[in-house]
């Protein structure tokens, strides 16, 4: 048991949450962080989906890592990810149709998420399945929290709602408060992601 949660394995899980965050430090997965964060709910759904898929594909690649021919390894990784995503999306469609409608476009976006390929190439190809699973979950969650922060800010100021519920008190709107239409635009998420990276790096300056 102690081996399962050794310092190294714990680091594989917790580093991507903070010190080696996929978005803030590795700057991966920015494209989807821009696309799905205009509201909180899709951001959460996307974050969880990426976590699940990264974890599973990390394990699979890690299991077959020694057999993969070096020259086509990227293709093999891509095939594994695409197959996994397709199967998951088919299962969702058959058994939880509502969720699959919710996810519609994001399922395709998961395949193109750079974090997946990045982790497969950088971690799963060299490590055993268990640390790879932890690394996958850690990176997925590290990605998810940044998405949720950006989604939170954009939905709050862009629509005045959170998860679809109105949260701006009426007296503020009576005083002339209006929602900021800029927040709804994709460009704004780039600026917010930039601010998150800035804040994150200045907080962690000492520790590095």
């Amino acid at each position: 048991m102690s081996k399962l949660f050794s310092e190294e394995n714990k680091a594989a899980f917790s580093n991507p949450l903070n010190l080696n965050n996929p978005i803030a430090i590795q700057v991966l997965g920015i494209c989807s962080a821009l696309a799905v964060t205009s509201q909180l709910k899709p951001a959460i759904v996307m974050g969880l989906s990426v976590t699940v898929i990264t974890a599973f594909s990390n394990v699979i690649i890690s299991l077959i890592r020694k057999s993969i021919p070096n020259r086509i390894r990227i293709i093999v990784q891509l095939v594994v990810v695409a197959t996994l995503v397709t199967i998951v999306s088919q299962l969702l469609k058959a058994y939880v149709y509502d969720v699959s409608v919710q996810l519609s476009v994001y399922v395709g976006l998961i395949i193109t998420n750079c974090i997946l390929m990045g982790r497969l190439e950088a971690f799963a190809m060299q490590n055993k399945p268990w640390p790879s699973l932890l690394d996958g979950i850690g990176n997925g969650l590290g990605y998810a929290w940044v998405l949720i922060v950006v989604g939170f800010v954009r939905e709050l100021f862009g629509f005045g709602t959170l998860l679809g519920y109105n949260v701006i008190p009426k007296f503020l709107t009576d005083w002339g408060y209006t929602n900021n239409g800029m927040m709804v635009m994709p460009a704004m998420s780039l600026i917010i992601v930039g601010c998150v990276i800035w804040a994150h790096r200045s907080i962690n300056k000492e520790e590095k």
Binding site: A35, V36, S38, Q39, P42, K66, S67, I68, P69, N70, R71, I72, I75, V76, V79, T83, T86, I87, Q90, L91, K93, A94, Y95, Y97, V101, S104, V105, R154, E155, G158, F159, G181, V184, M185, P186
Partner: protein
């Protein structure tokens, strides 16, 4: 024996085996789940039609309610005939083929007609169902959805808040043209016909507007232009029936029409 994983033969065989396994796996999953998925899609389509009829699809048994209240009919040669084949889950092709589906529904508010429409948004297809009141002149309710509009922007056409904006709008203007449309957010001038669009999603809103007017246009014969009043009614300067015209003191022209507009 240790395999040389860098040799050409190994790479080639590996790729072939991988592709075969993956193809088999995907084909298996797809065919094993096909029936369940199709049932889900049909159920969802029925739920969408019920949504257009202001029935909350999450609160009722969709299959039973649909069977009880809605009849799938075709508009052929000027009348509605029952549609006998399998229930369709998308109507783009049917409309293109001139197969005009109309869902006749008996709701708590009387008879309604639901018309399927399809169109294109910014990134992909749009579709919707528009429920008209019995007189076919005003909108009772609507439902829209999309393939891949931007979440939080264009995708909001799928929310009830937007769909409810259509309720009570008039389909035709005073000239008998389809005037029901969606305009840029915040620029509604003609409240009877114009629906407020979505902020930041003008192209999707335009797509909905085009879909609604083209879609209803296809059903022009079914909906019919608004019935003119028996005499001129101040709308035209001639009458179809001269005797009626004589009786109407307000009739400005008091003459029979020589070329009735078709």
């Amino acid at each position: 024996m240790k395999l040389n994983t860098n040799s050409n033969v190994y790479t080639f065989v590996y790729a072939v085996v991988m592709v075969i396994i993956v193809a088999f796996l995907l084909a298996f999953v797809s065919s094993a789940l096909k029936d369940t998925q199709e049932a889900n899609v049909a159920n969802d389509t029925k739920g969408q039609i019920l949504s257009a009829l202001r029935i909350d699809k999450n609160a009722v048994d969709v299959q039973a309610t649909f069977a009880e209240k809605v009849q799938d009919k075709l508009f052929q040669n000027g009348e509605l005939v029952p549609y006998e084949s399998d229930f369709l889950t998308s109507y783009g092709q049917a409309i293109k083929d001139g197969e005009l589906h109309v869902f006749e529904a008996t709701t708590d508010d009387g008879v309604k007609y639901v018309i399927p429409v399809t169109g294109r948004g910014l990134w992909g297809g749009l579709w919707g169902y528009i429920a008209l009141n019995e007189d076919k002149q005003t909108v009772y309710g609507s439902y829209f959805y999309h393939e891949s509009e931007t979440a939080g922007l264009g995708a909001r056409i799928g929310e009830t808040e937007f769909q409810n904006r259509f309720q009570g709008k008039q389909v035709f203007d005073e000239n008998g043209d389809i005037a029901l449309t969606v305009v840029k957010a915040g620029s509604v001038k003609d409240d009877a016909h114009e629906v407020d669009g979505i902020t930041g999603a003008t192209l999707t809103s335009n797509g909905v507007a085009a879909m609604v007017s083209e879609g209803l246009g296809k059903y022009a014969d079914f909906i019919g232009v608004p019935a003119q009043e028996a005499c001129c009614g101040g709308k035209s300067d001639c009458c179809e029936d001269k005797a009626e015209c004589e009786k109407d003191a307000d009739c400005p022209a008091k003459q029979e029409c020589t070329n009735v507009e078709q």
